[in-house]
């Protein structure tokens, strides 16, 4: 069989076989509508309750604070738009960061067009949110702070506890997009003073099309999807029962394997980072060297462009992603890489590799060889490299 090394687990993950197995009966056997009164439907309702309990426990939350949604983007949209609407009498100012996922950034832009003011706090060269800048941005009319738990591109883990503390002291609601972090690193909503948290199933070996929003009891945001009385009247629509069972199983699995997985992934991650930085000149690691998600690697290779690199890696059976403009469908490279201060041409040459527990050091030897060969080849074709070499002489 041809080589296949999947290193794009931040994009999506393989649904774990035990997750699929847990879901299957809820398609053909227990297909009842959880809102129905007969006993048969009770099976579906019980399954939802169980998943809700698993998730609440993983976050240190109460069961009735977990609201199932169709995924991370819906959760982010709900948190921002509904908070804006519910608290606009108190103020119309929201603080977020320059490195959020587009589910937050584009929602913030949408709110800006509707009369809200948004402050986008910057990050340092490692991608860590500048706390002093965040504190200074707070105003009497600030109603919400939204900061991602860990960045999806460069993996940097944010000082969420400190930010939660700041928000809590000022009486400002605090939302975190934990789509990349949940299931990978421990999160406790009380310790971090989190009022709302978005997460998604398919990033942690669960199914696609399911996620949730944690809403702390007392936060007055209303329904985002109107209709039936599901999810305590806050999110209408017949529940995605197989999906909910799937995310529950996936969370259970992620929590049980977290320690061992983190140890393994960190070791393999650092192995590749050290190897590449040592063996390929004019290369940098993007994101914090240690305070990053255990499965995230992000390099910039000077003088080459990311999409070309991805296509060539694909031919070697390696799946990765890039912050290059060509892969985003716009002319600008990743906003995250620009926010950490990279010049455009270096941002275009980025490569993100995100591991799973299945990846070994042997795989990384193969990956490193492939990257080395490709970077060399693309540089030999690059006018930027040609100019650089001539200048050196």
């Amino acid at each position: 069989m041809a080589k296949f090394i999947y290193l794009d687990n931040a994009a999506t993950t393989k649904t774990a076989p035990e997750v699929v197995e847990a879901m299957l009966p809820y398609f053909t056997e227990y297909y009842g509508n959880p809102s129905s009164v007969y006993e048969f439907a009770g099976k579906s309702k019980a399954a939802i309750t169980k998943s809700r309990e698993i998730i609440a426990k993983a976050l240190g939350a109460a069961d009735n604070e977990i609201y199932f949604t169709a995924g991370g983007s819906e959760s982010d949209n709900w948190a921002l738009k509904a908070t804006a609407e519910a608290y606009e009498k108190k103020g119309k100012h929201i603080i977020t960061t320059k490195i959020e996922h587009h589910a937050i950034l584009h929602t913030a832009e949408y709110l800006e067009k509707r009369g809200f003011e948004i402050t986008y706090v910057g990050v340092d060269e490692n991608g860590t949110v500048k706390l002093d800048e965040l504190k200074k941005a707070i105003r009497p009319d600030t109603i919400l702070i939204s900061v991602m738990f860990a960045n999806n591109e460069i993996g940097t883990i944010q000082p969420i506890k400190e930010i939660g503390q700041i928000a809590h002291e000022k009486g400002i609601l605090f939302h975190t997009d934990a789509v990349q972090a949940f299931g990978q690193i421990p999160i406790n909503v009380d310790e971090c003073h989190i009022d709302m948290l978005s997460a998604s199933g398919h990033k942690l070996n669960g199914p696609k099309g399911i996620g949730f929003l944690y809403i702390r009891k007392g936060v007055k945001i209303r329904s985002f999807v109107h209709g039936g009385a599901q999810e305590r009247k806050r999110r209408a629509g017949t529940e995605n029962v197989p999906g909910i069972v799937g995310i529950g199983k996936a969370v259970e699995r992620a929590m049980a394997t977290m320690e061992e997985r983190t140890r393994h992934e960190t070791e393999v991650r650092d192995y590749l980072i050290d190897k590449i930085l040592k063996e390929i000149p004019y290369t940098r690691l993007n994101g914090h060297r240690t305070n990053r998600l255990p499965n995230n690697i992000n390099f910039s290779f000077q003088f080459i462009e990311g999409e070309s690199l991805l296509i060539m890696l694909d031919m070697d059976g390696i799946c990765g992603s890039s912050g290059s403009a060509c892969t985003s469908g716009s002319l600008d490279p990743s906003h995250v890489l620009l926010a950490i201060g990279l010049p455009h041409e270096i941002a275009h040459g980025s490569l993100r590799l995100t591991l799973s527990e299945e990846i070994t050091k042997e795989d990384m030897d193969y990956v490193a060889e492939s990257i080395k060969k490709i970077v060399e080849r693309l540089r030999s074709m690059s006018p930027l490299y040609e100019d650089f070499v001539k200048k050196q002489k």
């Binding site: 584009h106 949408y110 067009k113 003088f303 080459i304 462009e305 999409e307 070309s308 296509i311 031919m315 290059s324 403009a325 060509c326 469908g329 716009s330 002319l331 490279p333 010049p343 455009h344 041409e345 275009h348 030999s380 074709m381 690059s382 006018p383 930027l384 490299y385 040609e386």
Partner: protein, 147 residues
């Protein structure tokens, strides 16, 4: 996402390299947008393009269009080379995805820039050749607004 022809020219690009003491060299694009193309031309006394080489920093489509453009102008005279439009390059590659059309413009501009350099070096005027834009994204329409 790419046609077989594009993939072929990306994987086995024709005419990669440099020409020492080239008759004309043209570099277009900018690193900001993620694509830079440089074309070297070797033009003989009869105005025939004897050899052509390129170097490109850019995506798969940028590399493939550079490669195809060099193939299309090799052996041609200057006037024929001027007829190698971005449309001709795209057709020869069996098309490009819509977001990559600007890459083919880059190839056309790079050839024109190299010819312009040749004309300047030799103090001649090439009929029908305008001063090439250094930035192909100039005047490009803004993206449609969402929402």
């Amino acid at each position: 996402m790419y046609s077989e022809k594009v993939m072929d020219h990306f994987n086995n690009p024709r005419n990669v390299g440099e020409i020492e003491n080239a008759s004309g060299v043209g570099t277009v694009g900018n690193a900001k947008c993620g694509d830079i193309m440089r074309i070297y031309l070797d033009i003989d006394d009869n105005g025939i393009i004897r050899d052509v080489k390129f170097k490109t920093f850019g995506c798969g489509a940028a590399v493939a269009t550079s490669s195809m453009a060099t193939e299309l102008v090799k052996g041609k005279n200057i006037q024929e080379a001027l007829q190698v439009t971005n449309k001709a390059v795209m057709e020869a590659l069996d098309g490009l995805p819509p977001v990559k059309v600007h890459c083919s413009l880059l190839a056309e501009e790079a050839i024109h820039a190299a010819l312009w350099d040749y004309a300047e070096k030799n103090g001649i005027k090439i009929e029908g050749l305008k001063r090439p834009k250094s930035d192909i994204h100039e005047g490009e329409e803004e993206e449609e607004e969402e929402y």
